[in-house]
Point group: C2
Chain length 352, copies 2
């Protein structure tokens, strides 16, 4: 559980321990996928030498069986988590504790600081999972393959009259049949609904010549995929065709920029990649891309690095990320293409 | 959106406004189910007279179309949420703002308090959704019916050799086919796995005479169901049979206690209900129930009221809640029965 990235962070921030709370982070550290996304099944306290897992009676028997290499403490009604943590912090003489300020709620934070006098210091954990191992990339690739397969099977069933919700449901059933789960609720948007980048699939029926935007993904062995396709059944209008071509070229320009840059250096500025794709879209007469060009993906659908105008992230070997330019014309239509890529020994590899 | 329960809370806590952040609370206030559970699609600021919705470019077009009766403000990279909120708070001369301290993260809270000098006061929103309307109870009933139907269809496919994951997947496919979604990941536990109350379904294969515990639910029109059944294919051991009977009687005692109490009064102490069921389990020689006896349900699977030893909640008309005693013998087996009930004009009505 004490990965080199955790040890590096402890050292760099001069911390005695880090308290991990977000379920995805706990899945990463323990390699145990059975952590609930909505309940607080567990917290982890990691020092330079030791790991403590704090869990509850609803899951403790299983955590003890599945997770090795940690001291497991169970909280109860009479001895809540904060008391167990206070004891460990006292015994280990911990003065500075890093914590996930973008995950811990205000109530949780206040309960901890009322019970524990150590200094709680906000830490950015995005570096911990940003470089993927070969086996992690394999899992993401598998999640991509499943999503593509379910998408291809779904496409065969799309015909005029079908609703967005029905298409989403067909896709989701294929994902389950293929032994995976959803990495996020499937976006299916017909016609003008595609103008909302994160449209919520509804009862809209498909009309002939409608644009169809599908943003979909699978989760397999805790790893996610995320793909977007825009297509037509019938004939696109010239303005739709143009927008789709601009988005395709925009993605191609970003890809070529990374490929060329990799010939000369190991690290590429993410904001420069965003800029190449975004400027082309603007140059072609569109207002801009109303979202980031891309995001990292792994155990979470959205994680580091961020490929956006304000990003200070650098893209480098072992990272996995999306490149997804989009154009949205309110009240009319939207187009987006999203593929996943990884940087593998000075080369950009497409996963989707 | 300004329900009487929101206005009551503003008055009772002497607040000028309440900032709502949790997705489920926003779905409740807007009756719009398309709010993401994982992203921050929207925040709502409610004063005694007005509602403001703060949203982003990924969903704003749709929020504007679907949600009426509110001023909608869109945040952008150059004008983030905290700035938009600061403007409204200044214009409305808001001094005291209630906020969801058990939902807002530490980072979000710090960003708001850095930009806004008003006093932020933690409020407990559990009272807002605790009394359900007839139409809300209808939705929950529908979610129960779908879950029961999917469960019955699934039971027909259960046979020795099948894995927990396969059973969960069969159930989940039925839920999708019935036009609903999952209210939580399905728990399927065979044999000793049932000793973990929140077991994570895995590759364990069903053996003849194994105990089977299924905890499952559907979400329909944003409303949830939550049901647990424990059964056998084959013959239970005497100790399993006894535990199941104790759990059944424990649930029955809690139900009878509520039914009798309703003849005399409108409000029933939730902790007393927990006590009746729990004491019976202990009396029969088991250590206790390692979780609450029950919980409210509605837009969220777990919401107010809490039926637990430490609860100060009162059960009353319009509430919907589970009663779910369980006995867990580590390394051997577990049994739990969970049904949903509502109090309707001085009567307890079973929904499952």
């Amino acid at each position: 559980m004490l990965t080199s990235s955790v040890l590096d962070l402890l050292k760099k921030r001069q911390l005695d321990a880090i308290l991990f709370s977000s379920p995805k982070q706990i899945i990463y550290l323990t390699s145990y996928g059975g952590i609930s996304q909505t309940e607080r099944d567990a917290f982890i306290l990691a020092t330079e030498k030791k790991c403590y897992i704090f869990t509850n009676q609803l899951v403790s028997a299983e955590i003890k069986e599945k997770i090795k290499g940690a001291t497991i403490l169970e909280h109860t009604r009479s001895k809540p988590f904060a008391k167990n943590l206070a004891d460990v912090i006292k015994n280990e003489k911990i003065e500075k504790v890093g914590f996930e300020s973008n995950n811990l709620t205000v109530t949780e934070y206040l309960t901890l600081t009322e019970n524990i006098s150590s200094r709680f210091i906000s830490v950015d954990l995005s570096t911990i999972r940003v470089i993927k191992s070969e086996s992690e990339i394999e899992q993401i690739k598998k999640a991509c393959d499943i999503a593509k397969k379910a998408y291809n099977l779904t496409c065969e069933k799309i015909k005029p009259g079908i609703t967005e919700k029905e298409v989403a449901s067909i896709f989701e059933i294929y994902i389950l049949k293929l032994g995976a789960s959803l990495s996020f609720p499937t976006i299916v948007a017909f016609g003008k609904n595609a103008a909302t980048p994160h449209h919520h699939s509804d009862e809209t029926k498909l009309k002939t010549n409608d644009i169809i935007l599908m943003d979909f993904g699978a989760e397999y062995n805790s790893y996610c995929s995320d793909i977007t396709r825009t297509f037509f059944i019938g004939k696109p209008l010239p303005e739709q065709k143009k927008a789709l071509e601009v988005v395709q070229t925009s993605q191609k320009l970003a890809v070529e920029f990374i490929e060329n840059a990799l010939k000369e250096k190991n690290e590429i500025s993410a904001s420069e990649v965003d800029d190449i794709a975004r400027e082309y879209v603007i140059e072609k007469g569109y207002s801009s891309i109303p979202h980031s060009l891309g995001h990292g993906i792994g155990i979470e659908v959205h994680e580091a690095p961020s490929i956006s105008p304000a990003s200070s992230d650098k893209l480098s070997k072992g990272m996995v990320f999306s490149i997804e330019p989009g154009i949205y014309i309110e009240g009319k239509f939207g187009v987006r293409i999203e593929d996943l890529y990884t940087i593998s020994s000075a080369k950009l590899v497409k996963l989707t």
